[in-house]
Symmetry: C3
Subunit: 139 residues, 3 copies
């Protein structure tokens, strides 16, 4: 029978950049009574975002972080700078990546590809704990 | 019991840029008989898109509009220009942002963070009315 | 009554760029016993992605391919280059577009707008067959 579940994942990234949350999400999913369905992650912030990326190569993640630092740089004459030089680029990097991801679930596991990991992309330097809302529907 | 609902939101943006649709979506949601579930917004256009962004600071929205005008500019030697200089950049800005957003719902309210608003990002200068398809599933 | 269905779409793009999968998805949907609901496509790769774009103008798709080749170029001094010069730009172009898309379904058809098509955006030159996980929930 179809049912749904929801939760909040609190994540504190130790620094700017990509932080794997795959294990945290896998753990939450394992506690739910749903083996096939759709899992949605929703980032409740505008200066952090979600990204599915290559999980095996740390160099790829460093290149990705440098890329976004370059295309949405800190010193770019922004009008909005009340909260520091990392604030506006954080909004831009969030806009260019994802606030929400939905992932099909089969046999109790997310249908991630072999090389895919789920990341919180933290864009602020001294970020507070972040909330990822989780929603699962299935049977 | 799980049920679903669907609808169309017609939105006409008065100008290019970010136009809040948070209130319109909240209003539609309040009319549905679902208090927890998943709400999906789908923009039925390729020259307008959806974005969740900072809702408190108008300067942040202006910076964001200027940023996209800069990284996907009008005068860039596009092959496709039948519909005017704002046509091809509109497709690019749509590709870089979102055609679809799904937002968990709890206690009859979207699980938006405190500073998040939902925006139609209109990329054309003289745009017609836009259709956002809505889908809600939950109980 | 609400039910769900899932499947895998195997797609082999003959070259880098945008490859329409609208017909393949439409065909899969027609075989399911669901006429209204939500269809989710999930790309199980980090060097290919999904995009909804203008389906009538091939020139618009070529401009879009050239644009991504320009903003995430091959020769940019990446640290990660074990798998060739098209590997890291592939991850970047994937990050800037979409791993997942959800599309409302009504009367057995996706609620795509008149000019929208669904594309696999292949970022590698000699790519293997790609898997798109499909999930459908509805009634």
């Amino acid at each position: 029978m179809l049912r749904q579940a929801s939760g909040i994942l609190e994540v504190r990234a130790p620094a700017q950049g990509l932080h794997s949350i795959t294990d945290r999400v896998t753990e939450w999913l394992a506690q739910q009574d749903v083996s096939s369905g759709l899992l949605t992650l929703f980032c409740r912030h505008t200066s952090a975002s979600l990204l599915i990326q290559e999980r095996a190569a740390p160099a790829a993640r460093r290149d990705l972080e440098r890329y976004f630092a370059r295309i949405a740089p800190e010193d770019s004459g922004y009008e909005h700078d009340d909260e520091g030089p990392d604030d506006m680029p954080a909004h831009l990097r969030s806009a260019l990546t994802h606030t929400q991801l939905s992932i099909p679930v089969e046999n109790g596991r997310m249908m991630l590809g072999r090389w895919q990991g789920i990341y919180l992309f933290e864009h602020r330097r001294a970020a507070p704990s972040r909330e990822i809302a989780l929603h699962l529907i299935g049977e």
